[in-house]
Every structure is written in C-alpha cells, then in structure tokens.
C-alpha cells in the first residue's frame, strides 16, 4: 500500500499559553482533494504553517509520502514536493509577473545559483513562465510590474507561483478570500481543473467552493478536529452547523 501524501501525527502548536493546534492527526491520500473548514481562530492556517514548515510545531510529526519531514526546513519540503499559497497574497511586488514565475520555476532546482549568465540567456524559463501565466489568464501582462495588478489578479498570480514550483501536494490557504463572486468562480474553476495527480489541501470559507471541490472535508474547531467526512456528511451534521454557522 502506498503511504498517504500527507500524514500528520498528534501535532500541537502553542503560542505562549495559547494552544492554536491541539493534537491534530490527519491523513490525506495521494490524489485526494481535502478541504479544511472551521470558524476563525480554529487553527487552520497555523496547521498549514506547521505542515509546510513555515512554523515549527511544538509537538507531533509531519510525513510527506511516508517520509518524516518534521525536522526539515521549509525549502527542503518544497524541494520534496510541497507547494503552498498564502492567505494574504504573498507575491513579489517589485518584480514583473514573468520574473515572479521564473523565481517559482528555479526555486527547487540548482539554477537559482547561476551567477554568470542573465536570466534572458535561458529561453526555456521565459517560455515556461509565459505558459504558467497563460494558465491563470495573466499572459498579456507578463512584463508589467506586479504593483499594477488588482487584488483578484494577485490571487491568480499567487496560485501560479505555487503551481510552478511543481508541487505534488498543494496547500491553498483561502484562495478565494476577498474576491468578488465572478472571481471566485474563476479561481475555483482553475483549481478544479488541476491535474488529479496533484494532492490538494485547501482552507476555504466559501461553502459552495469548498463542497464543490472537496473529496473529503475536515472540520476544525478550537485547534481540534471535530469531524471528518464527505461533503454531504459534513453538511448534514448538526454539530458542524452549530460551530460553523452559529446557532440559528
């Protein structure tokens, strides 16, 4: 049996006295699309940070395709196949769109160390950067500065950055946060169209987007998992309704 893409064991993260993630165990199969939901402060983003290595957990372990990566730096995890987006757009504002994508393309290889030739001497980088932008509908703006992008376009670029680091497991932190309904649809279509061999773990507040994309849903509340199941099961569960939507 192949090991799961992501396996989290008894993961805890404390900030001072606050236990943001409280002993979470989670397993995501290869090729699965998992959505994490939960009210604000449930620990979703902190859990993400601990899995991808942005934060180191207080206790517990993280495994990627069966390999323990708990002690590895974030950059090593990326090299092993983790990719992520950020809840608050985290793109390179002082660079052009094409340069943003080039940074994603060379990040996991050795070419980021090349000092003796300009980026322009590698036409394949330019070509792949344009392809990556094409994929998220930004090709026309390749040579503009990111400064000129709208909020929604930055979300698209954010996704393009994560995709072009060639991830096997992709972590999306609220990819649709703050977008208009039209933009939401566009992004969720993009995510839906991703190849199925990329394992997807996604935090999403928008129930339509979340339940439309998910194979399975995990519900977090106060740092713990309160339910895991199919979208239908989660929707039907009264406890979830209670914590997530509040008492009606």
């Amino acid at each position: 049996m192949t090991p799961p893409a992501i396996e989290v064991g008894a993961l805890t993260k404390e900030f001072g006295g606050l236990r943001a993630v409280d002993g979470i165990s989670l397993s995501v199969a290869t090729g699965e699309r998992r959505v994490l939901i939960g009210p604000n402060g449930a620990g979703k983003t902190t859990l993400f940070h601990c899995i991808t290595g942005t934060l180191s957990p207080s206790a517990g372990r993280v495994a990627l395709f069966g390999r323990d990566v708990t002690a590895l730096a974030e950059s090593r995890r990326t090299a092993l196949g983790m990719g992520r987006t950020f809840q608050i757009s985290n793109v390179f504002a002082n660079l052009s769109l094409a340069e943003n994508l080039v940074l994603a393309l060379i990040g996991t290889g050795r070419r980021k160390w090349i000092m003796h030739r300009p980026v322009g001497a590698y036409p394949d980088l330019r070509r792949r950067a344009l392809e990556g932008l094409e994929h998220v509908g930004l090709r026309q703006r390749a040579d503009e500065s990111v400064k000129h992008l709208s909020y929604g376009e930055r979300r698209q670029l954010e996704l393009a950055l994560a995709l072009n680091s060639n991830p096997k497991v992709l972590f999306l932190d609220e990819p649709c946060a703050g977008l208009s309904p039209g933009e939401r649809q566009r992004i969720s279509k993009m995510i839906g169209a991703l190849p199925r061999d990329i394992t997807l773990v996604m935090i999403e507040h928008d129930m339509d987007v979340a339940l439309g994309l998910a194979d399975r849903v995990t519900v977090l509340h106060r740092g713990r998992i309160i339910l895991e199941g199919s979208p239908a099961e989660v929707q039907a569960n009264p406890e979830v309704r209670d914590v997530y939507f509040g008492h009606v």
Partner: protein, 314 residues
C-alpha cells in the same frame, strides 16, 4: 538600460578617457577617489539595493584588504602580483566570517555589523606593533608587475577606470542572473522565496561574501592610490558614507553608487575649502535626498522622465 542610458554611459566613458587631457593632478586624484569609493558604495549596495540588508561594516573589508596589501608590499617586499590578490583574499575571508550576521535581520543585522566594524577598527588601532597603530602603514609603492610599472597618478587613474568598468560589467550580469533575481525575490518577500524552495540564508550569505570581495577590491585600489593606510579607513563613518553614497545616487542601480560617490566627495572638497561645518552640509543633502528623492538621483531622473513622457502622451 534604454537608449538614453547607453548614450549616457558612452558619454561618461568618453569624458573619463579624455579627462587627463584637461584636468590637473588634483582633479585626477579626486576623480580616482570617486571611482574607488563608488566601487565601495556599489559593494554596499549589492546588499542594500539587491537583498535589502543594511550593512554597516563594509569599511572592515575595505581596510583589511588595504592593510594586508600594504603590509606585504612595504614590510615584506612582496610583489604586487601577490600582495594585491592577498589583500582580496584577506578581505573576503573576513567577509566569510562576518557573513554569519545574515542569521539576523533588520535592526539586529545593522547592530551586529556596526559592532563587527568596530572590532576591526579597534584591532587596527590598538595592535600597533603589527598595524602601525594610528600612523598605519606608509610608503606603499605604485603597483608594478615585473617591468610593467605604473609611474604616475594619471596612469593609475586609467588602471582604476578599467577595473571599475570591468566590475560594473560583471555586476550587471550578476544582478541580471537567476541568482540576482533570487536576491531581489528575497528582498521583496523572504517568506515567499522560502516556500518556493530557496534556502534564503544561504543566498544572503553568498551575496554578503561577494559584496565583501568587491569592498576588498576597492580597498586594494585605495591603498595603491593613497600610498598609505591608517585605521580611519576601517572607521564607522567610512561604512556610513559608502551607504549614503549608494542611497543618494540611487540604490539598486549600478550608476547610482558612483554618482553618489561623485556628489559626496565633490561636495566635501568644494564645501570644506570655505566652510568648516562641511558635515552639516552633508547632513542637509542627505535629508533633502530622503525627502525629495528617496530613490536617489537615478530615481529622481527616471521619475522626471516618466512625468515628461506622460505629459507628451496627453
């Protein structure tokens, strides 16, 4: 670089080539200094302008390289061909050590580099049996390779000019390379570069060492120009001045540090000839830069040109 940029660079090159025809030895000396300190400012800006790290210890690499070359030439009669590279190696080795400061960021990085700079200054100042103390090392000869000997300040000026142009060209490739792009990525968002697979600390360390190498090169050029070196060359104000040169000229550009060096050294020579409070004038210049031209002279020129282009388009 646009057409205007290439035109300006060619014009500057033509002026630089013919300068000794109409400028006297005093002016040639000043211009040589501007080039050398411009190179030091460029080395500071490799960190400041490309990676965002604000280092205040670059006088250390400059001075250690200068002292090494000077001591080898004067006391041990080592030929230039060995003494000059030895200076580069010594300065760069120091940068390999001081580079560990990239484990810190922001104000902590600035503080650590200030402290490291003071250590070097203190050693050069107090270890007088080896460094000559306050008097430093004097009587450094002109550089010579076998029978080839630089015999005048004008000849040395041409040599410095050639080295500076070569450095500018190499620097240009470096910042346009995948490595250079990575540095600008780290400057924009270190968290994002990490999540894309970069070991950002290692990239910054490499940039720090390269920057130290460039500062060392400026130091070796300086000692052969100045013919002597004392602890002042390692002092905190030298590091600050190099940083100000980069900022006033235009951080993140190649021409900027040299323009800044020209302005600061030119003003100092001019103002100090009739006004004691030269430092006050420099302070005012710096405040004016921060207020009205935060991207330096190069940034100001670009902004004015963009504004004119917009007016034309309307």
């Amino acid at each position: 670089m646009g057409r205007v940029g290439i035109g300006l660079a060619l014009a500057a090159f033509a002026v630089a080539l013919t300068l000794p025809q109409f400028a006297g030895p005093f002016w040639m000396g000043l211009v040589t200094q501007m080039l050398i300190f411009g190179l030091l400012a460029l080395s500071v800006d490799l960190l400041l302008g490309q990676t965002g790290l604000f280092s205040l210890c670059h006088a250390s690499f400059f001075a250690v390289a200068a002292y090494t070359t000077a001591i080898l030439q004067v006391r041990y009669a080592v030929p230039t061909l060995l003494a000059a590279p030895a200076g580069l190696v010594a300065g760069t080795l120091l940068a390999l050590g001081f580079g560990l400061a990239v484990r810190t960021r922001g104000v902590y990085f600035i503080l650590i580099t200030i402290a490291l700079g003071y250590i070097v200054w203190g050693v050069l100042h107090r270890w007088s049996s080896f460094t000559g103390g306050d008097n430093g090392v004097t009587n450094v000869p002109f550089p010579a390779v076998g029978e080839l000997r630089i015999g005048s300040h004008t000849e040395y000026y041409y040599f410095v000019l050639a080295v500076v142009i070569a450095c500018a060209l190499v620097y240009r490739v470096l910042i346009a390379s995948p490595f250079g792009l990575s540095l600008r990525g780290i400057k924009a968002s270190e968290t994002r570069t990490r999540s894309l697979g970069y070991r950002t600390g290692l990239h910054l360390y490499a940039a720090f060492v390269l920057s130290g190498l460039l500062a060392s090169l400026a130091g070796v050029l300086y000692v052969y120009y100045n013919r002597f070196v004392n602890p002042v060359s390692a002092s905190f104000p030298i590091s600050v001045e190099a940083t100000l040169m980069a900022i006033i000229g235009g951080s993140g550009t190649i021409a900027g540090p040299f323009i800044g060096s020209g302005i600061i050294l030119g003003l100092r020579n001019w103002v100090s000839s009739f006004f004691e409070l030269y430092a006050t004038v420099m302070g005012v210049v710096f405040i004016a830069t921060v207020l009205w031209a935060p991207d330096g002279i190069v940034g100001l020129v670009n902004r004015l040109r963009a504004a004119r282009a917009r007016r034309k388009a309307l």
